[in-house]
Subunit: 442 residues, 2 copies
């Protein structure tokens, strides 16, 4: 059996490794358009911020290693067209500038995503960047060696934008953050984004929300950012406004969401037989919403890569458990979310309510207890926990995994409020904020 | 309805508060033999170690507050005898030195536990202490004001003993720890106790395991500890070898375990009608072992107090979920456990296996990733998770709550290894140690 994989990052290489490890009778070919495979892009803000100084730490597994275990790995090879009839993919070799056609029995599309650059005047000026690849990371870090780069605008208050605010601030730069929506962290309810804005501002970062960037101009060797509310002159601009799936080269027979994400079921199957998709180019099957959702996170990509390999090998495997669980540290603030919010429940026609409690992170007799706020969304008839959002300091984000498992398992409030969680003064109070929130659901 | 509660700490006062809050037609009388109610004894090591300097932080709620909401609270009153026939309790007033008899419709025994002092020569010498009450804490802290108290022996390598080692060390004292069993943290498998011993020794604390203290002698105003293996001269000795339930005054009709713990079911009912028990004087119903177990922890006491109040009010309530979940920080090491170990499963006739994996605490590109070790015990036929033990640095202990919920909910390995937990570089790797351990269960 010939398995052809388009894309050599988390999803693609997870699938490739698993296939060659488990099955000697499968030939695995990977087509990757860059020079890099299998890297941890989520480490880039920390590299840029000088928290680590070795970009090699982000190269999780190098091309040689994959080749050694039997993966036919082709770098600088770009997939251009999928011929569904003939089960083949036309590729273009970016080095030799030649065309090649590769045939397959099973095709895995794992081409990932690319940063969205808004179609506004000046967005292609030098000094305007996005952050996705290792190369992007090197370019931005190198630029920071120049001390004349003093002021930086970050556009987009999601995970990457916020991590970049922290990174640039750590490098001693003056940072201004622009978010077009009313609040930062758009996937969270507004009060959580407001906590983040406060944390940023208390640490000298200027935050504009509800403020769409409309135009960028070159001015005296610097850049002027013109937004709905204001005009700022800076030395560098980073767009971190989201990603779009790399799927424009695919034929229409492969069904996609309006944003271009390939629709997959819990077995990573697409609408075309023998074609699978995994990672940031595809949807995941959401456990609560019970439909495909676009949640481009490394956690999903790795799971999808594993599952698609198992499915192709004929093993029982499915990932029907996507919950959109995510964590972020912003300066000393920690946030996490899992499952759905009351608004998302409403939009999905679920009769949901929510409770929000604030409690102490840990016992008063251990130093520095701080407030921790947990909001639970629940199904009103059954009191089943549907989602959670949390904000606090050290140890806050870790609690979201408990709630992810609660949502995953369909735990109801009455069970959650009495679970035998561990307690010691440095970690929690005897009734943890999770108990207290569950208890607030009547 | 007259509810009489013997004991005014976590279990007793939780029950009392809930009863007076929810039901105006119930009279609630509490009998407490000390002057203190409702305090966080688990804060005492941190008070002794100077991590906090205000013993009032441990007084969670003061007597006046309980009286104000309608609890008839009697301090310095000791319960001496329970008359089951007449539904009354004979008490002795320690201040007025007089006897009183209190009648009840429902009796809650919540008399807690007392530290075990081994019956060896010299265990009653001045300078030999135990730690249970606020008064004990004050005495030990005061003693440390004397700089001649330079060397301290801690006897018992359980939670309190270990926290005291850290406290005394923080106060600049030379500490020697004696544990009669082969390993510290007796409830954990041996490798976890060994990690703790290493951490203590690396921080200048001397550890003797398998070393029973046999005798204490007074010598030149100091104390000589004679153990199976050695002889040490110290200035203070703390016994932290466990607790025994305060139940010796109770009639035999109330069934007890051999150690004296009152046997309760999931509704906190004892073997005698209208008599309930809660907290450290009683057992909890263990969810996995499906029988009453003695697990004297504040978490259980608070839950039992709440449940017994609900049961007495005629509400549906039960605590069939005790798992023995516990966390501890020892210097910079964090440990946690929940559910049962393979040895405990074996003893209970369960066909169990276990896996142990060591992985990175978080992504390599965020500073200071450190090893984290997780051991899972599982039911072999079903692959259901029965218990977990964890050791690592910052963030390790918090993961035990995820596993507590997994054990509570009967999650099987195949589910656990794919749960959508949150990831960000400061917190974990994309596949967290929980996924990796679950995946190791074949």
């Amino acid at each position: 059996m010939r398995v052809l994989i388009l894309g050599g990052n988390a999803a693609g290489m997870s699938a490739a490794s698993r296939l060659v490890r488990k099955r000697k009778d499968v030939s695995v070919t990977v087509v990757e358009r860059s020079k890099e495979v299998s890297y941890g892009a989520c480490g880039l803000p920390y590299y840029i911020g000088g928290f680590n100084d070795d970009i090699d730490l982000m190269r999780i597994r190098k091309p040689e290693k994959f080749r050694k275990v039997g993966v036919d790995l082709n770098l600088m090879l770009s997939a251009e067209h999928v011929d569904i009839e003939n089960k083949s993919v036309d590729c273009f070799d970016l080095e030799s500038q030649t065309h090649r056609t590769l045939s397959y029995d099973k095709l895995i599309i794992a081409t990932g995503s690319a940063p969205i650059v808004p179609n506004i005047e000046g967005s292609d000026l030098p000094g305007v960047h996005t952050l996705k690849t290792l190369e992007d990371g090197e370019i931005i870090r190198s630029a920071l060696q120049n001390e004349n780069i003093r002021e930086i605008a970050v556009v987009g208050g999601g995970y990457i934008g916020l991590e970049l605010c922290e990174a640039f601030s750590a490098m001693g730069r003056k940072v201004t953050l622009f978010e077009a929506m009313p609040n930062l962290l758009n996937g969270f309810d507004s009060e959580f984004g407001q906590c983040v804005a406060k944390e940023l501002e208390e640490n000298g970062i200027t935050v504009y929300t509800n403020d769409l960037v409309k135009k960028i101009e070159k001015i005296d060797g610097r850049l002027r950012v013109i937004s709905a509310q204001s005009s700022h002159i800076v030395d560098m601009i980073i767009f971190a406004v989201g990603v779009k799936p790399n799927t424009s080269f695919l034929p229409d027979q492969i069904s996609k969401l309006p944003n271009g994400a390939i629709i997959t079921n819990e077995r990573m199957e697409t609408s075309v037989r023998d074609i699978y998709a995994a990672g940031d180019c595809s949807t995941v099957f959401h456990k609560i919403l019970k439909k495909p959702q676009y949640i481009p996170l490394g956690t999903n990509a790795n799971k999808q890569g594993r599952i698609v390999a198992d499915v192709i090998m004929g093993n029982h495997a499915e990932f029907a458990g996507a919950l959109g669980t995510a964590k972020i540290r912003v300066l000393s603030l920690e946030l996490g979310k899992t499952g759905i919010t009351e608004n998302e429940a409403c939009a999905a026609g679920i009769d949901a309510g929510s409770v929000r409690v604030t409690s102490n992170s840990h016992a008063p007799y251990y130093p520095n207890p701080v407030p921790i706020t947990l909001k639970l969304c629940y199904d009103k008839p059954s009191k089943r926990i549907l989602g959670a959002q949390i904000v606090g300091r050290e140890g806050a984000a870790s609690r979201i995994d408990v709630l992810a498992l609660a949502v995953d398992q369909g735990v109801v409030a009455e069970q959650l409020r009495i679970v035998d969680f561990g307690y010691a003064p440095p970690f929690s109070t005897v009734w943890d904020v999770i108990h207290i929130a569950a208890n607030a659901i009547k």
